[in-house]
């Protein structure tokens, strides 16, 4: 199908455009994007959080691939290769700092994104599966955090992984088996590095990429969620902006700001700051006593702290097991909220689920706080 020659002088740009257009129908895509609009209201800032999380994930992919060029998994080489990266390789300290900062910020923004979606009831019909895929992505992101933490094979990582995998051992029936599978043996050893490495650089990225694509396709197909209050507004009072190019440019500006903040943090605090830190420290020694303070990463702190607070026995069940059960049930409810929240399916605000969200949020914040203070 030949397009009629346009009146304007054919520049190389439009010729390239025509070439592609004839083969891939680009105009249709641009048209489609042109129809998409983004609601403008007091909480429009929430529309950027998912994008920031996506940007931080892209940073993780790029810096992760760079680190792979020098990282050597194994009990005799992992620690040494990370030390080589931060001390010998040009800009190695920067790449590691970026990877660590971006990891922590990605989890933070994933949580923020999730709670803003939750409290705006944006998970309601027709976006149930978008929510579900998002919960899956968060689980994978936590898996990335847990598996990546061990890779430098330093003291901090070794004991945190020992405690973390040890919790899996508390699960009834399959616990012992699961523990051996996770550790690649009875103990955390070089074999564990091999497993976590494979998980961190192959399995999780593959799963994450698939699920992320699904998540983004859903968002593109359904457009941006409008606030619940908009139902009762006359059309004249609803303001929109075009997604393409207006919103996209704003998105890119936010990404640029995120890149600068990231660079600033990585340069000023290459080893992290406060409780969020990752100094290489000393090499893991399985025979040495653990350091006085063993702490999980901050995003596991609430669960870690909650399990510590439980009495040794609840009813007839061991405390830790009871906690794990509770978290499993809670997580399931959280993932299935779009299906459980009947009111949201008919575009009404549900007081019950609103309150539930605040309880969960308060629980996470208080437990995290206690975890850092009650030492």
């Amino acid at each position: 199908m030949m397009t009629a020659p346009s009146e304007t002088k054919a520049t190389s740009k439009s010729r390239a455009h025509n070439w592609l257009d004839q083969r891939f129908k680009i105009s249709a895509l641009v048209d489609y994007m042109g129809h998409k609009v983004v609601p403008v209201h007091g909480h429009s800032i929430f529309y950027y959080f998912g994008g920031i999380t996506l940007f931080l994930f892209i940073v993780q992919v790029v810096t992760g691939i760079l680190l792979l060029m020098y990282y050597r998994p194994g009990a005799d080489s992992a620690y040494e290769s990370v030390r080589f990266i931060v001390s010998e390789v040009a800009f190695g300290w920067l790449i590691r700092a970026l990877h660590s900062w971006s990891a922590n910020l990605m989890i933070l923004f994933a949580f923020l994104h999730m709670f803003t979606v939750y409290f705006t009831h944006a998970y309601r019909k027709p976006r149930e599966l978008t929510w579900l895929s998002g919960v899956g992505l968060l689980a994978l992101a936590l898996g990335f955090g847990f598996s990546g933490y061990l890779l430098p094979w330093n003291e901090l990582a070794f004991f945190a992984t020992r405690v973390g995998t040890g919790m899996a051992g508390a699960i009834p029936v399959i616990g012992d088996e699961l523990l051996v599978i996770m550790r690649g043996g009875e103990e955390v050893t070089g074999a564990t590095i091999g497993r976590f490495f494979g998980l961190h650089v192959a399995i999780l990225p593959a799963l994450f990429t698939v699920l992320l694509s699904v998540h983004l396709i859903f968002v593109q197909r359904q457009g941006m969620s409008e606030p619940l209050e908009w139902q009762h507004l006359p059309a004249s009072q609803k303001k929109y902006q075009k997604f393409f190019p207006n919103f996209l440019y704003r998105d890119l500006l936010v990404w640029l700001i995120a890149l600068n903040v990231l660079a600033l943090l990585a340069v000023v605090f290459p080893d992290g700051v406060g409780p969020i830190h990752w100094p290489l420290g000393t090499k893991a020694d399985p025979f040495a006593p653990p350091p006085p303070v063993i702490r999980p990463e901050w995003y596991f702190m609430f669960a870690f702290q909650a399990l510590k607070l439980l009495p040794p026995h609840v009813l007839f069940i061991e405390g830790e097991l009871f906690g794990i059960l509770l978290f499993t049930i809670g997580g399931l409810i959280w993932a299935l909220v779009p299906f459980l929240d009947r009111k949201s399916q008919v575009n009404q605000r549900s007081r019950l689920y609103y309150a539930f969200g605040y309880v969960v949020l308060a629980f996470i914040i208080i437990m995290t706080f206690l975890g850092y203070v009650a030492e």
Binding site: V62, L66, Y70, V89, A90, F91, G92, L94, I95
Partner: protein
């Protein structure tokens, strides 16, 4: 936009484009520097005492032994005349490792049938250059190998 006088818009476009380029540059530069590995710590050795004796070389079925010479691989062979000859073991054609063929009295590269004489001179096949020769000195039981001119 093809005015002789620059417009405010075109000036802004240049500023924006320059900013984008500078940002990309500042991202790509550290990444590029990162992927270039730091120089390896191994010095380029000019003299080396071999960790084996003449009898080890002569007892070898191929009457040769390879050894690590700094960053390169060397080979030392015992000729029929009982002379020890050492040279680089990396074929000058495509970097395969060469071997001694006592049956033919040559140094042979199995990859593409390249042939050198025992002084490392390329005599047939694809190798474009001779193998670098090393000087061999025997002091009692010890064998010392050094680069020519060292």
């Amino acid at each position: 936009m093809n005015d002789a006088k620059p417009t405010r818009r075109s000036f802004l476009n240049y500023v924006l484009g320059g900013g984008v380029l500078a940002t990309l540059g500042s991202v790509v530069y550290p990444a590029f520097r990162f992927i270039v590995p730091p120089p390896s710590g191994e010095a380029n050795v000019s003299q080396l005492k071999l960790p084996f004796k003449r009898s080890d070389i002569e007892a070898d079925p191929q009457r040769a032994r390879t050894f690590k010479f700094g960053r390169t691989l060397g080979i030392i062979v015992a000729s029929d005349a009982g002379e020890l000859k050492a040279m680089a073991a990396t074929c000058t054609h495509l970097d395969c490792t060469v071997q001694h063929r006592p049956d033919l009295g040559i140094i042979w590269c199995a990859c593409h049938n390249g042939r050198y004489d025992l002084d490392g001179k390329n005599i047939s096949g694809p190798p474009p250059r001779p193998l670098e020769r090393y000087v061999v000195n025997e002091v009692g039981e010890d064998i010392f190998v050094s680069r020519e001119g060292a």
